[in-house]
């Protein structure tokens, strides 16, 4: 209801918008919002998973306590931390592009290409060069491979506004194919009959923190998350990416060099995905087998959105998933279930996230998982529709 008859000095246009709640109450409300939107879907998924386990005739309490045992207890947390490293690097790499409303979905190709290259070059390099030098070179190679594999979609989008969802996916399939050709061809370990690369000697792999199995790539991943968070929130580059993501037309209007920004964010994203491959191969596996595709990116995407494209908030979510998947190996084995059951849990998280998002939109519950750009596009088109009516 409009009621400005007593305030004739303020016309509806010039009235200040309704003041939000006081800062402290807003802080509480924000915190509550984070809980509702990010943590509740996880809890609901675990609950629904429990019901599913009951329906399958398994004891959910045993299952979840096995996850705890296998993922946290004794030294298991170290395995979880190691598993988190490549996941976190990929997730952070996705945050960089998603913030700019660019959809790099070619992470599998970027990852495997990097993995194949370094597991092919690695054994030769570590044999002839000092360990540190070799490891740094391998990280650079993997990162460069990942970045290079985003270049074509990036340039196509920057110059011709090609839809990058399609081009990155296509490049991903090509990348996976080439990785397999490399593994079966030039990088094939001549001493075995299985199609796989030579195995890095254990003492030449990434060094661990003394007394643990946690290798330094875990620390690198954490550092990368902090660095990306800083760049995205505190620097002019981060702000430019944010503007591009929130409102590409405004980006053009204020004179941002949009093509350059697109290519830059793609390259950074590919670089981080490639480094994730280095972390995984040099820290954990030591070799790559043909047709191996862990598809880390696919499992990590729900968490990227749960963390609402915030690199810092990603850390707990990725750790949560790492624990779930590490402990899940034991738990599924004990419960005589395939490890794919863990993917069911991830899918449930995604489902509940969508439900909460839908309810949240209906009740206008603060911000959305949608990137500002998408949201604005939706709102803008609906406003235009209204205006034209």
């Amino acid at each position: 209801m409009t009621d400005v008859t007593t305030e004739t000095t303020l016309s509806p246009e010039t009235r200040a918008p309704v003041q939000r709640a006081a800062p402290r109450r807003r802080f509480v409300a924000d915190a509550l919002d984070v809980v509702v939107r990010s943590i509740v879907p996880v809890l609901l998924a675990l609950g629904a998973g429990a019901i599913l386990l009951l329906a399958l005739g398994r004891d959910p309490i045993t299952f979840y306590s096995n996850v705890w045992k296998g993922g946290i207890e004794l030294t298991a947390w170290q395995d979880s931390a190691v598993r988190a490293a490549p996941l976190l690097l990929i997730a952070v790499g996705l945050v960089v592009v998603f913030r700019a409303n660019i959809w790099n979905l070619g992470y599998n190709g970027q990852f495997l290409l990097g993995a194949a290259l370094i597991s092919g070059l690695g054994p030769r390099l570590v044999g002839s060069e000092p360990r540190w030098f070799a490891l740094v070179v391998l990280f650079v190679v993997a990162g460069a491979a990942g970045a290079a594999w985003t270049l074509l979609p990036a340039v196509l989008k920057a110059r011709y506004e090609t839809n990058e969802i399609i081009t990155t996916l296509m490049m991903s399939f090509i990348g996976v194919g080439i990785a397999n050709i490399l593994i079966k061809g030039p990088f094939q370990d001549p001493t075995v009959n299985i199609p796989q690369t030579r195995v890095l000697p254990l003492d030449k792999m990434l060094p661990a923190i003394p007394g643990t199995r946690i290798h330094i790539a875990v620390l690198m991943a954490l550092a990368a998350a902090l660095l990306v968070h800083f760049v995205l929130t505190r620097t002019s580059f981060g702000l430019r990416l944010q503007i591009l993501g929130a409102n590409p037309r405004a980006a053009r209007h204020v004179g941002l060099k949009v093509p350059r920004l697109i290519v830059m964010s793609f390259l950074v994203s590919g670089l981080l995905v490639g480094m994730a491959a280095a972390a995984d191969i040099l820290g954990t596996w030591g070799y790559v087998r043909a047709n191996w595709n862990p598809a880390y990116g696919d499992t990590v995407i729900p968490f990227v959105f749960l963390a609402r494209l915030n690199a810092l908030a990603l850390i707990p979510f990725v750790i949560f998933y790492a624990v779930l998947s590490t402990g899940g190996d034991l738990a599924t084995q004990q419960a005589n279930l395939p490890t794919d059951f863990l993917l069911v849990l991830v899918a449930l998280i995604l489902l509940f996230m969508t439900v909460i998002e839908y309810l949240g939109r209906r009740r206008a519950l603060g911000a959305s998982y949608l990137t500002p750009g998408l949201e604005q596009a939706l709102r803008y088109s609906s406003r235009r529709r209204k205006a034209s009516e």
Binding site: M1, T2, D3, V4, T5, T8, T9, S11, P12, E13, T14, R15, A16, P17, Q19, R20, R234, T235, S236, F237, L239, R240, Q242, I243, A246, N247, R249, A250, R252, H253, V254, G255, L256, K257, P372, E375, Q376, Y380, R383, A387, S388, E389
Partner: protein, 520 residues
Amino acid sequence: MGITKQFPGVLANDDISFAARRREVHCLLGENGAGKSTLISILSGMVRPDAGEIRVGGDVARIDSPRAALERGVGTVYQHSTLVPALTVLENLLLGESRGLRLNAEAGRKRLAEVAATLGVDVDADAPAGQLALGRQQQVEIVKALWRGSRVLILDEPTSMLTPQGVAELQKVLRRLKETGIAVIFITHKLHEALAVADRITILRAGRVVGALDTAELAASSPGEVQAQIVRLMFGEESRAVADVAELRTDLEGDQAPLDARPPDADVLLDLLRVSARAVGGFDPGIEDLSLRLREGEIIGVAGMDGNGQRALAEVIAGERPRTAGEIRLYGAPVQRLDVSARQKLGLRYVTDDRMGEGIVTSLPISLNLFLKRIGQRPFWRHGRIERRSVEREAQSLVEAFDVRTPSVSTRAGALSGGNVQKVVLARELSFDPKVVVFHKPTYGLDLRTTRTVRDMIRGLARSGGAALVISTDLDELLDLCGRIFVLSRGRLVGEVENGPNAGERVGELMVGAGDVVAA
């Protein structure tokens, strides 16, 4: 007398009651935000009222969809064209027909001739709607609204797209309509239009009816008295602050000396020499071979219907769109190779017409929106890192200087009202030594208080040694502000008019001349 409508108690329209009578043009007058649009949406079935009722011809009518509105005899012509440009006039008219599968073209033709004869207009049934001049398109819209025998015709800001000649023609049509016994509801925010056509005026403010003048009252008092009375009703105590805004004056032309006694030897600030720029999409013809000279202290207007290259002109000057030929000189030096922020730094600014769509980033705080064109520059960024404190401090002082009504500078820009968003954009473009500023529809959709503030800023800029190029589809605005007015048509400047008596008509002639080219 027949037709009555009453709405006690409607959201955004608070207890609005008025009656439109046969053989009368009933004017709803109110500024932006007064609740006119909501009222039309309710009358035309787009929105349902929360309380209150609509009566047509004495009977309570349930209007819960646009179709229901037409069936009850209420036809609406909206501000923007709803015709499908690729279809012919006849096809557009038959779109609403739902009876039978096949389009009955013959019956349609007959009906069209019938309605057109009542209106006293001549409509070519087979012309593609998109190729008609805007005035003609509006006539087709009126035919469409009357197609099913409407007894009430609603016109929403019908003059906003018309030339002065088009307005005169519309008035003729309205007179014919009255004779046939139709009730016309005419919505406008311009006082002189209301006085020109209305038999009866209802004035809205903040969702309420604040006053009404009937035929006798309108006839009895002198125009000056009526004007003063209406302004008082529209704005209450605020009226003195807005009384001299163009929209509220009844005599627009020749009532004041051209604003800038333009010294012919003043320094040239901006010079466009035969500049061309590429077209973008179907509605943006780009610009071609366009030359323009802007001197210190000048306010130059660019008139023309939307989609004749206005955006291209503004963007080429601002540096958003590359020019394909010609030269752009600022203070005598070519700037066509400089990017947006470099030109911004030199004092060349652009206030965009699409303030929500590209002027601001709604998800960012006001403070950052104020410096969007200076990202990475000192003192707000050092070594690529944002200096929060200096951004906030400067933002605070800009918000105060431009009177942006907001709880704080860290409020999301999207939470602001349209008028305050425009103030944020103005604060960005008019701070740090502006010299040459392109204003694109600077007061579109703003309330009159803000409109006045914005126009004062434009005049202030010119007085303080700057220069302004005002691009607007609102001729009244240009007549109010500018010393010279150019007419832009299909990307070319087709004429120049010195502001003064009859300038409006001459601009209109130039626009119409161009319109014929479009129709041919």
